[in-house]
């Protein structure tokens, strides 16, 4: 029996005890000596100029150290490229405190630094700033005809594929057709933890930035570029994160501000944003979508057309993949996809959980429901008739795709067969009952990552990689991979992350961490394993004498022949006999392009939702959700399930309540606080069943994992919207579906 098979089990979070004991340190909890505090002052206007900053009035307060603004910022990097981070979109990145020009509401215009946080906050309130206001435009509706196709996009952006077949003709000749527009407003990530940076001044121009970020190297490279710091002069650390959801993918202005103040004052400085300022750091963009669909007599799709327009800032072409998924989720010969941006006087949007896909999926999956009804088909049956076995966007087979099995298992668990097709045909508890479904697709990506593994003579393994842990379970799954690779119990393994003194890993996003860092961790442990094997083979009587690495395995603290388990040595004996106090190995991992080039690699899911609607009052209660996910191999059943549970809650929020409301008169978000920007609370969240459909896939990466941080959100929003239609007969096409839309 093997006790060191950890992958696929459900161990508790290895960092759980630290979190509940309060000993997991977040970026605002590094209380370095002689710390000063910075408070950001934000613009109350959306467009114009700062005419005067009466900083001297505030500098005169005892304990106020400095007021930084465009008036006194030192010479910083000049070219845009110095400000571009790993996923900066096209255009010119925002430079905090660079000029008097205001280009969005809540733009940071000054940083007040003082001996205490309370004093900095007070001084910031007193700081008088004169503005010259100009007319702004923040309403996407005014830009309907001014959309443009972005030139270059950010890393990961793919322009929609060219049209295939003859979509317009096919639509015209279709047996049934629909055309509808879908919309949702801006949404903000709103992780519980505020963006905070504590910068420690280490003397001699050297700093350590404890920064809330999903990518410590991304921040380090940004700081080096902007402030002209050398590699050895800046270290960035972030070992824990109170939620990211994409808000921490790009360096935020909090880290710029804290580093600026630290370098100028030669003193450690902390900057923490307010909840209101958390609405000035990027968002899921306000998006309009037009869907056209037509079917053939047999219920197959004759034509599918999907066009999206969303907002971006005046200075960057923020891009996301909204419509491309519509060309691959269903089989259709005649497809036209369009994607445009429109510039407004707002801050650049930013990737937010399942960026693009979450938006496009609502359009596609609600339209699929509308199409199913128009064609007189059950929505699940309609999807099965249009099941795609190949990715028609790139004309390649999927490396694996068990969406059909997801449909089957989730529908059975949900009891889809009890549903009657006609809207308003089901009732329960004096309410209208509705059942809806939606499915989705997300990328299975691997990006370059590195890791280091060290083992001590007593068999304790430490593995390091500068990835992130934003609550997803990174510590735990990497510990599982490392422990299983070298046949150790979980307790013998420590995984360390989030420090630029560690080998480089990519930003933690795109659902690629498990695949990318996981493979690097496995490779580093294998590299270490090869060294251990060599040591084991040193004694003349070694039972592993001529074995190659792929002929041995590490299990239960032993190294043994795969085909003859009696030929074994105890790992700790080998290490102790070697006389070495520690062995180490570095490795990195890249995707196997050769193996992958013939395939389209994606994760899939489906969600079924049940709602009850009070017809008189318009109130909606989601009573059940079943979500099935096919994402390769699941490394940890427990943390994976938690991610999907969270995703379902996100989908529910997007369907029923999340929206950042812009008052166009001021060009300012007005509900920028947790009281009025509603995210689901316990009372909103129903029983959720999560099903993982296993896929064997050795093409995506050696671990066979696809990542699950985002795919679980897809389908949910549409399933709820479709359930509301089924319950009420009312098709709400602008999210969120709040009670007034059902009155």
């Amino acid at each position: 029996m093997t006790q060191t098979n950890h992958i696929g089990k459900a161990p508790n979070r290895v960092d759980g005890p630290l979190k509940v004991a309060g000993t997991a340190h977040y970026s605002g909890e590094f209380n370095v000596p002689h710390l000063a505090y910075g408070y950001v002052v934000s613009s109350p206007i959306a467009k114009g100029k700062v005419v005067a900053i009466h900083a001297d009035e505030v500098r005169a307060l005892p304990g106020v150290l400095e007021v930084f603004s465009h008036e006194n910022v030192p010479y910083l990097a000049w070219f845009d490229k110095s400000y571009k981070d790993q996923i900066a979109p096209g255009g010119s990145p925002f430079r905090p405190l660079h000029s008097p020009d205001i280009t969005f509401n809540q733009q940071p215009v000054a940083l007040v630094v003082a001996d205490t946080f309370e004093l900095a906050r007070y001084a910031a309130a007193l700081l008088r700033i004169d503005y010259e206001q100009e007319d702004h435009e923040t309403n996407l509706e005014t830009k309907r005809t001014e959309g443009y196709a972005p030139g270059g996009g950010k890393t990961g952006f793919q322009a929609p594929p060219p049209p295939r077949g003859n979509p317009d003709k096919a639509l015209k000749n279709a047996t049934h057709s629909i055309e509808a527009e879908y919309a949702h407003g801006a949404q903000h990530h709103n992780p519980m933890e505020l963006f905070t940076t504590t910068v420690e001044w280490r003397g001699d121009g050297k700093i350590t930035a404890y920064d809330k970020t999903q990518g410590v190297y991304n921040v380090k490279n940004y700081l080096m570029g902007v402030f002209g710091l050398g590699k050895d002069e800046v270290r960035v650390v972030n070992q824990f994160m109170g939620g990211g959801f994409g808000a921490g993918l790009r360096p935020q202005y909090s880290v710029f501000m804290a580093v600026l103040a630290t370098l100028e004052l030669k003193r450690s400085v902390r900057v923490t944003l307010t909840r209101q300022q958390m609405f000035s750091i990027g968002h899921r963009p306000n998006t309009l979508q037009l869907l056209k669909m037509g079917t053939n007599p047999d219920g197959t799709l004759a034509s599918l057309q999907h066009h999206a327009l969303h907002e971006t800032s005046q200075f960057e072409d923020y891009t996301e993949n909204i419509v491309n998924w519509s060309g691959m989720l269903y089989q259709c010969e005649n497809v036209k996809l369009g994607y445009q941006l429109a510039k407004l006087d707002i801050y650049s949007p930013q990737d937010m959980r399942a960026p693009g896909a979450a938006s496009g999926n609502v359009g596609l999956e609600v339209a699929m429901d509308e199409m199913a009804y128009a064609a007189g088909l059950d929505p699940l049956e309609f999807r099965l008739r249009n099941y795609a076995d190949r990715d028609q966007n790139v004309d390649k087979p999927f490396s694996s795709k068990k969406l059909r099995e997801c449909y089957k298992q989730a529908a059975a668990k949900f009891g889809w067969e009890t549903r009657t097709q006609k809207p308003r045909s089901m009732r329960a508890n004096g309410k209208l009952r509705g059942m809806g479904m939606g499915g989705g697709v997300w990328d299975a990506t691997q990006t370059k990552s590195a890791a280091k593994a060290l083992i001590s003579a007593d068999g304790k393994l430490t593995v390091r990689s500068a990835t992130g842990e934003n609550g997803t379970g990174t510590y735990t799954i990497m510990t599982q991979i490392a422990a299983e690779t070298l046949g150790l119990p979980l307790e013998a393994v420590t995984f360390e992350l989030g420090d630029t003194d560690q080998p480089e890993a990519p930003i933690q996003g795109g659902s690629w961490t498990a695949a990318s860092v996981g493979t690097a961790v496995k490779n580093a442990c294998d590299a270490l394993g090869e060294k251990i094997l060599k040591l084991a083979q040193k004694p003349a009587d070694s039972p592993l004498k001529d074995a190659k690495y792929d002929e041995v395995e590490f299990v239960n603290g032993q190294l043994r022949l795969r085909l003859d388990h009696d030929q074994a040595v105890v790992l700790r004996d080998v290490l102790q006999a070697s006389g070495e106090t520690q062995l180490e190995a570095d490795s990195s991992a890249l995707p196997n392009m050769l193996k992958q080039q013939g395939y389209s690699m994606h994760s899939h899911n489906v969600a079924f939702a049940e709602v009850e609607v009070d017809e008189d009052l318009g109130t909606i209660k989601v009573t059940r959700v079943v979500s099935a996910v096919a994402a390769g191999r699941i490394l940890n059943q427990k943390t994976a399930r938690s991610q999907v549970l969270g995703s379902v809650v996100w989908g529910l929020g997007m369907a029923l309540m999340e929206e950042t409301v812009m008052d166009h008169k001021f060009g300012r978000y007005v509900n920028h606080n947790f009281a009025e920007y509603h995210i689901p609370v316990n009372a909103d969240i129903p029983h959720i069943d999560v099903i993982f459909v296993h896929e064997d896939d050795d093409i995506v990466n050696p671990l066979g994992v696809k990542g699950i941080g985002e795919v679980g959100m897809l389908g949910v929003t549409a399933a709820i919207a479709n359930a509301v239609f089924h319950a009420t007969g009312k098709r709400v096409r602008d999210l969120p579906i709040m009670l007034d839309k059902l009155l």
Partner: protein, 339 residues
């Protein structure tokens, strides 16, 4: 947040004296609203008098058969008080429909009456607001006003009072006992909060320096036929779009006495006496309820994003009256939309 001094009062006289001795001072109870407003610089008191520890936390019988709710009793202790549950379950339901357990554990009864509007613009110093800065203008008129008033608003202000507890109180009609530099007095609950008129900066009719010491409920508690219906944008921890408090006395299916108050629709908890008069002597039928509901909203005015509230209020009144007449409500019940 602006700097302030702080003291903890030992008794009511001490509190009143302390406040009178400090310009720009404020009483603070649980602080669940005032401290937020101070952090946003909306409130800038120079001195805080903490009254949370005053000996006013008792809930006790009154000689006239009523119940006295001490001003510093927490909302939680009030909601779960056995007397309140048995005799004023409407109050129990309304309190439990508001905020979160954590907030209710800290918030006091006096403070609940004193909480200020949740108008987005009132909270945001970057936008004009007559309530915050008289004469600066109302941003909510012509702006985003989903949570704003449809009844009793003025050209100066369309803010709403955010309390749930106060809606039940409006129906139950206690007197508010206060102490101030001029001595003690009682204010009918209905006269405590005010409509905005030309002076939205005043939420209530307290004189300078006055402190709430108790809420004295009359004997009549409508414990058999009552309902508190709260409609909001999520099922908990959200302010009411519309809420309805109903108390009925019934003889068979005839309504012999009625109370009806609305929340989320006006600058004060909105009690409608004429609607109550329309209910009295009537049979508890859908037709009666519909007629009364239409009467309540007959003069309602929408502001754009809150137009739906007129129809929502109408329907909510019908529902709440029906629930109250059926008499199946119990203390502890909170409406969660679908279930």
């Amino acid at each position: 947040m602006y700097p302030f001094t702080y003291s903890r009062a030992t008794d009511v006289a001490d509190a009143v004296r302390d406040k009178a001795g400090h310009d720009g001072s404020a009483y603070v109870g649980g602080g669940t609203n005032l401290i937020d407003l101070m952090k946003m610089n909306v409130e800038q008191p120079a001195h805080l008098v903490n009254v949370a520890k005053l000996p006013l936390a008792k809930i006790e019988d009154l000689p006239n058969g009523g119940l006295r709710l001490g001003a510093t009793a927490t909302n939680s202790d009030t909601a779960w008080n056995e007397q309140v549950k048995a005799r004023y379950p409407l109050l129990n339901q309304a309190i439990l429909a508001g905020a979160s357990p954590q907030l209710r554990n800290a918030a006091t009864n006096g403070g609940n009456l004193m909480q200020r509007t949740r108008c987005y613009y009132f909270y945001d110093l970057a936008t004009p607001c007559n309530k915050r800065e008289p004469g600066s203008g109302c941003s909510a008129i012509g702006g985003f006003n989903r949570i704003h008033a449809i009844l009793g608003a003025s050209e100066a202000c369309i803010a709403t009072h955010p309390s749930d507890m106060c809606v039940a109180l409006a129906a139950l009609a206690p007197t508010v006992r206060v102490s101030g530099p001029q001595g003690e007095r009682s204010i009918a609950f209905e006269d405590f909060h005010r409509l905005p008129g030309d002076h939205p900066e005043f939420d209530n009719t307290l004189a300078e320096g006055e402190l709430i010491t108790s809420l004295d409920l009359p004997e009549k508690g409508f414990a058999k036929h009552f309902a508190y219906l709260k409609l909001r944008d999520r099922h908990s921890y959200a302010f009411a779009l519309v809420s309805v408090a109903v108390g009925l006395e019934m003889d068979g299916d005839t309504i012999t006495d009625a109370r009806l108050a609305l929340g989320g629709v006006a600058h004060k908890p909105w009690r409608d006496h004429s609607a109550e008069a329309l209910l009295k002597g009537q049979h508890a039928t859908a037709e009666t309820f519909g007629r009364v509901a239409a009467h309540v909203v007959a003069n309602a005015v929408g502001q754009g994003s809150n137009d739906f509230k007129i129809e929502l209020a109408r329907r909510a009144i019908v529902r709440a009256l029906k629930q109250a007449a059926e008499g199946k409500q119990e203390a502890g019940d909170v409406y969660l939309g679908g279930q």
